[in-house]
């Protein structure tokens, strides 16, 4: 780390319709450093990176490369300056092979494709960093972790000097994350400077320097060793937040009779892989059952079977003793089972509908909401408005399209709907993914509240620490199998990590 400014922004500003994403940002990346961007959702981290990468064009301010003012009209320019970026959401082609994904759009001279040459070049890179990938397997067959490697290789293949990683660890197992940081270290040695974004405080502390962003502004750049996690977080949120979301809990509940019992559930996905491999679980009223594991290991299929959106090949799901597997989602909902899907915009919301319409999604034919043939606008509006109050959703009115809501507020809309219409069971798949601590805290408290009201809650998350704090029991899922069920009171991240890791070679 030479202290030499490599890439620098001066008063950089970027607006989106109705949003100020970046405001007067002065950001400095020094040669050879690993620089972390830290900040709540929508603080503008990704936007800043996209500007540095030339994907977005700043509305104001300037960017300097090695002291020279530069204009990035498109990623082409930044790539020419040796800047590469791994985006928050993968930009891969499922139907392409790893190799095709990496080389597409890289050669702009020749007409023909020289696959061999590219492949050899890649082999060298992989050997150097100890990444191993089958170049001819289709990306859709790769695990999420492996896909992340492909993303990184895309940049390395272009011989980058600066690598921007937007929330690279969000989808990685603990040990994959460790591996990634090792690799980042190695890159540093090879003279590659790195910007990475993370919401995980532990990772933030690993950076050489941290820039804290909030609501579109860069508040401060600090050295981790000169500060503490707590300070950093307060700095970001602008108020006290408990990092430990919930203090030790001592929840007692009756385990004699499961409200939902899952037996030997099996499901083969369309690529012939067992997404659910003989899963058995019992869920009791008044408990929070955690489901620990890296996403993509069967959680989605499990939650879909439990909400009537997927018909398992074999096995049973019994609700209070009667089998309901393979019934329609209608049936499950009418039994009082609520669902918070992991992909909130695709499965949980109709973005173009306003809040009140989303509040009745799935219940539009309920008597309370209809008057004869027609929808009962007044009732719906009234309900929407007091749910907006109850869940303090930040919005001017109940008629704002959900697409205009922030991630966190959108998530609150789902929470409000599901908790309002279900009364027995809540299924929550990655409910806090991509949300900042403020919102996370809120969501967890709501879930805990319902648990205390006697709900049975199934909560899947990648945040082991949160699970331990929140849950009564934790089931570890990996590769479509339940690797073990532990009492939250008497376990540790390490134990769970081991149970996952025990399978991680196959699961990652």
């Amino acid at each position: 780390m030479s202290g030499q400014a490599l890439l620098e922004t001066k008063m950089l500003t970027k607006h989106f319709p109705g949003v100020v994403a970046n405001e007067g940002i002065n950001f400095v990346l020094e040669e050879g450093e690993v620089h972390c961007l830290f900040g709540e959702n929508g603080a503008g981290k990704s936007t800043l990176c996209s500007c540095l990468f030339g994907y977005y064009r700043p509305d104001g301010g300037s960017i300097e490369f090695k002291g020279e003012p530069v204009k990035f009209r498109s990623p082409r320019d930044s790539i020419r300056y040796g800047i590469g970026m791994v985006h928050q959401h993968f930009v891969l082609v499922d139907e392409f092979t790893v190799l095709e994904n990496i080389i597409v759009g890289t050669n702009t001279e020749k007409w023909s494709l020289d696959l061999e040459a590219s492949e050899n070049q890649l082999k060298n890179i992989c050997d150097e960093y100890g990444i191993d990938l089958k170049f001819n397997s289709l990306v859709r067959d790769l695990s999420v972790g492996e896909q992340q490697w492909v993303e990184i290789l895309k940049s390395l293949y272009l011989k980058v000097e600066i690598l921007i990683l937007d929330e690279p660890t969000a989808v990685l197992t603990p040990e994959e994350s460790n591996k990634l940081f090792k690799i980042m270290h190695k890159m540093g040695q090879n003279g590659i400077s790195i910007i990475f974004i993370s919401h995980k405080i532990s990772e933030v502390m690993l950076a050489d320097r941290v820039s804290v962003m909030s609501k579109g502004r860069l508040i401060d750049t600090v050295f981790p060793r000169e500060t503490t996690p707590q300070e950093l977080t307060n700095l970001m949120i602008g108020r006290e937040v408990k990092l430990r979301v919930i203090e030790e809990n001592d929840n007692e509940y009756d385990r004699s009779y499961p409200i939902l019992s899952i037996n030997n559930l099996k499901y083969k996905n369309k690529y012939g892989k067992f997404a659910l491999n003989d899963i058995s679980l019992n869920l009791y009223s008044g408990e929070i059952l955690g489901l620990a594991g890296v996403s993509g290991n069967g959680q989605k299929e499990l939650f879909e079977s439990l909400s009537g959106n997927l018909n398992p090949d074999s096995g049973t799901i019994s609700y209070e003793g009667k089998e309901i597997q393979g019934r329609s989602s209608r049936v499950f909902m009418d039994l009082g089972i609520g669902l918070i899907p992991d992909d909130r915009y695709r499965e949980g919301l109709v973005s173009d509908f306003d809040i009140s319409e989303n509040i009745i999604l799935g219940w539009q034919r309920l008597n309370d909401y209809t008057k004869g043939f027609f929808l009962n606008r007044n009732n719906i509006k009234r309900l929407a408005e007091d749910l907006i109050k109850k869940f303090n959703i930040m919005t001017p009115s109940s008629t704002v399209p959900v697409s205009h809501l922030s991630g966190g507020n959108a998530q609150k809309v789902i929470l409000a709907r599901e908790l309002n219409h279900s009364n027995k069971i809540l299924l929550a798949n990655q409910p806090t993914r991509g949300l900042d601590l403020g919102v996370i805290e809120y969501v967890y408290n709501q879930i805990k509240l319902k648990r205390d009201e006697g709900f049975a809650v199934l909560l899947a998350s990648e945040e082991l620490e949160d699970l331990i704090n929140l849950c009564d029991r934790i089931a570890i899922i990996s590769d479509g199998e339940i690797k073990g069920i532990v009492e939250a009171k008497s376990t540790s991240i390490q134990d769970i990590g081991l149970l996952m890791a025990g399978q991680s070679e196959t699961s990652a």
Binding site: P17, G18, R57, R73, S74, R76, T108, S307, N309, S328, S329, R330, M333, D334, L339, P341, R346, E347, G348, L349, V350, S351, D352, F353, E357, I360, L361, G362, W363, Q364, R365, Y369, T370, F373, F374, L375, R377, H404
Partner: protein, 358 residues
Amino acid sequence: MISLEKRLESNISWVLFVYSLACIVGFIFTAFLLWSSGTDIPKAFFALYKGSLSSKKAIFSSLNYATPLILTGLATVVAFRAQIWSIGQEGQVYAGAMSAYFASLMFYGAPLWIHLLLVIAFGALGGALLGVLSAVLKNKFHVNEVISTVMINYIIIFFLSYMVGGGPWTEISDVNTTVYQQSDPVADYSKLPYLFGSTKLHLGFLLAILSAVACHFLIYSTPFGYEIRAMGHNPVALGHRGTNTHKTLLYILILSGAIAGLAGVTEIFGTSHRLKSEALYGLGYTGIIVGMIGGLTPLGTIIAGIIFGGLASGALYMKVLAKVPAALVPTIEGMFLLFFLCAGVAARYKIVVTGKDV
């Protein structure tokens, strides 16, 4: 490179501006076409006016032409609102006409109003059946609805050709009349009664307006309408939260088909009074354009339909009085659609020219 930026707030006057601009450009192009065909442009436009709204009679005639277009337009609205790209309206019009004709023979002798109701009901039924067909093809066999509906269109047209060209409904031929691709005339009392003492405008027009109003309320203020719109925006979420989207799709296509079928009824029993494909040809395809220009809203469709009806009525005058070559109308319609689509973009987005990529 040109990119688009969404406008958060829609500015009414701007929207009006771009759409009227689209109209003006449309008329300029029309004038150019007329000029290219060597017709006297003022004369042509006057003929258009004369034939479309110069007189009570002209207006009735325009509304008469508008009637089936409003109906097929509505059929389009219902389906497209749910992002179901059914272009089977054409075939459904034929099917509606045929089953209505069947009913008019079957229930011959029933009391007038019952007879008419049955004829109309069967018309809707016929269209609906084709709707069911494409719905089943999509739900059960994943056959893309665009393709299935287009193919069914061709098939049904050949079917009618058989029924009235050699088949059982072929007109009886003797010294007083001869076979030619049409049925016997429909019984007088099967004809849709005329309105307002006109000899053109018939009950079908009321039917169309009523259907439009009904569709309006259906789409915006009923649970089914909610499902239609949700289907259009995000079928996955709709399905995940307790709505059987297969059923929804089926009902939508049934409704759409039924409305299109009505267009067949109004044409045969309101206007041509014989079953013949000549009278039905193109109504479905034009309806798609009408629905689109109507902004996929029922009330907008009424307006678009009436405009197109005026065009059709005026076009005849243009042909006769100004010697404008045939087929000008579809050309104009197609042009206006494209310009309106562009206007729609201009209304919803800011167009920003950014640096160039390669």
